[in-house]
């Protein structure tokens, strides 16, 4: 394990950014943060959760896929992707790291989504143990340990230092390039922090939330549950939950006419939107109840059915704090699981 004194933190960042693009969480407005490309002097935020998850860096909100030039009856397809370079995402929380596994199982199965695959290949993830998990956190429900996140390098931040532990070849390689700004450490402090986090995790208000009643092949149990009616009652049909969610990955592909051609781009889409499934021939999900149900059934039942029981929720809690009507997957799980919210 390597140690970097907090006073040297920016030297560490400068070092990394000298050979790779570096993204760190930066405070935007009071208590809010988002991942930004590091520039000298930027301060890493301690805010627990960025407004948007780091999925943006692998699956951006909008992304140009290709361009077309047309002349007369002819079409030319131009794949104008540039050579990819390595990049480092520093300070990814355990829940968000896990979300990459959820996304991988969609984008990296045949036929591979090469746009995403390239970024995964070139992205190095430095995760950050959660010193102070929030009341909205429920990663434990999905077997995620915020005190020992996955990632290429795991980082523990104590009062005076960062402790960096490489977990993969990519991580070891990165750490070896940071020898100047780090020193060898026995990691006792990190271990101490890890234990502290474990104690805190056990005390969180959602610590005992269980997902056991959901999962593989449970479509019939839940699809026609009367609770959907009440739960979806005041859903606005906006896409907030979807877009702040680290595991939501639905997208749309659209064409945009530019000055000298056509740009085909993809952008995030949401099953909460009324047009999501609309066809000229009809609309299979007519009401918000059906669209609301689709999102949660997908996370709790459909996805696990296709992915060995893995849930498509990592318990980051963003939907809890962001939903305009404060409806969220925890309330859905409690209601469907028969836990009265008393």
């Amino acid at each position: 394990m390597r140690k970097c004194l907090l006073q040297n933190q920016n030297k560490l960042f400068d070092q990394i950014s000298s050979f790779a693009s570096l993204y760190i969480p930066v405070e935007t407005t009071g208590g809010n943060a988002s991942f930004k490309k590091y520039e000298q002097g930027m301060v890493m935020s301690d805010v627990l959760k960025t407004d948007r998850s780091p999925k943006d860096l692998f699956f951006p909100q909008t992304e140009n896929l290709m361009e077309f030039k047309t002349s007369g009856k002819n079409i030319e397809v131009i794949d104008n992707r540039k050579e990819s370079e390595d990049f480092v995402v520093f300070g990814v929380r355990g829940c968000d790291v896990k979300s990459f596994e959820v996304l991988d199982r969609v984008f990296l199965v045949e036929p591979v989504d090469t746009y995403y695959a390239t970024r995964r290949e070139h992205g190095i993830i430095v995760s950050m143990a959660c010193g102070r998990p929030a009341e909205t956190c429920f990663c434990q429900t999905f077997g995620i340990d915020a005190s020992a996140p996955e990632g290429d390098i795991v980082c523990y931040k104590t009062e005076d230092a960062l402790y960096l532990d490489a977990k993969t070849e990519k991580g070891k390689n990165l750490l070896s390039k940071l020898a100047d700004v780090t020193e060898e450490s026995d990691g006792k402090e990190a271990l101490k922090q890890k234990e502290q986090i474990k104690t805190v995790l056990a005390k969180l208000p959602l610590a005992n939330l269980k997902a056991d009643s959901f999962g593989k092949d449970k479509t019939k149990e839940f699809f026609d549950a009367p609770e959907w009616q009440i739960l979806s009652k005041s859903c606005l049909g906006c896409g907030t939950c979807t877009f702040v969610c680290p595991t939501c990955q639905c997208y749309d592909i659209k064409d945009f006419k530019t000055k000298d051609g056509v740009q085909r781009f993809r952008c995030w889409d949401s099953c909460m939107y009324s047009e999501f499934t609309k066809m000229s021939a009809g609309q299979p999900r007519l009401t918000q109840l059906e669209r609301f149900r689709q999102r949660f059934m997908h996370k709790l039942v459909y996805y696990p059915t296709n992915n060995d029981g893995l849930f498509s929720c990592v318990g980051c809690g963003r939907c809890i704090s962001k939903c305009p009507i404060s409806m969220n997957i925890v309330k859905v799980m409690k209601a469907l699981g028969g836990i009265d919210n008393e």
Partner: protein
């Protein structure tokens, strides 16, 4: 054709022939710019066609894989992309990616079976691919019956082919029907579901069903009355799709993605899915 690793990037192809089948259905013959067949597909599979700036949409491939020369799409005018295609001329390039989906189990479950094809309107487009595949591999299948209906005689897609080829094929029984009486039509008049019941098929056949939802609903009831079980009936679904490769999430029904796990489903498999298609 296109590298499987670049699933979203299409290949450029060319419309080499256009046939007006009905007032609102045209069949487009498509080849690569150097005159080759764009890809090898299975009956029932689909492909994404697009015109940059207009949009991309998924269409079933209506030609049989046994056709070594070209692929064909029969397309009904009903939206942005289809309207543009209907206005296109021969020689127009379009982009194509695919083929996508599972296709009909012609080499497994269908083999050796008596086949009953039932289609309504443009629903014959994907079924035509199987019918011609079966005709071209005739020894592998039992008796073949085709029930096809449309609003009127003019709305019968592939009319020439049905009359000149299928009807003249002694190994195939073709039963045509139209919704209402029409001058110059001496065939059956009535809706497909009741015609199927009238014809009263043996329930040992494997049925392939494709058409408007209402037709499917009532035909299924009819087939059940004739003694068909869900395991003997196949259909193909149509949902809104964008990627065609099981990722964009649009055609997700239950744990299935229609573009990847479908579009062909056996009725008992469909019964397992939530009723959202």
């Amino acid at each position: 054709m296109n590298n499987i690793n670049e699933a979203l990037i299409p290949a450029v192809c060319e419309i080499v022939a256009i046939r007006q089948d009905t007032p609102d259905v045209k069949t487009f013959r498509v080849l690569t710019p150097d005159g080759k067949k764009p890809f090898i597909h299975k009956p029932g599979q689909c492909a994404m066609l697009s015109m940059p700036g207009v949009g991309e949409a998924l269409f079933s491939i209506t030609s049989s894989p046994t056709n070594k020369e070209y692929i064909e799409f029969s397309i009904k005018k009903c939206g942005c992309v289809t309207e543009w295609l209907h206005a296109a001329e021969v020689g127009q390039q379009i982009t194509v990616r695919g083929p996508y989906g599972n296709g009909f189990p012609v080499e497994t479950e269908f083999k050796g079976k008596d086949m009953l094809f039932i289609a309504g309107g443009i629903g014959l487009a994907p079924v035509r691919s199987v019918i011609n595949y079966v005709r071209d591999n005739r020894a592998n299948y039992g008796k073949v019956d085709i029930v096809y209906g449309s609003r009127s005689k003019d709305d019968l897609v592939f009319f020439e082919e049905i009359i000149n080829e299928w009807k003249n094929d002694p190994t195939v029984n073709v039963h045509l029907t139209i919704d209402r009486e029409q001058e110059g039509w001496d065939g059956h008049v009535g809706f497909v579901p009741s015609y199927v019941k009238e014809l009263g098929f043996d329930s040992n056949k494997t049925a392939v069903l494709c058409g408007p939802p209402i037709m499917i609903k009532f035909t299924l009831q009819g087939l059940a009355e004739l003694g068909f079980s869900n395991e003997q009936v196949f259909t193909t679904l149509e949902l809104r799709m964008k990627c065609g490769i099981g990722k964009c999430g649009r055609c997700n029904v239950g744990s299935k993605y229609v573009c990847k796990d479908g579009p062909v489903f056996r009725m008992d498999q469909l019964e397992e899915l939530p009723d959202e298609y």
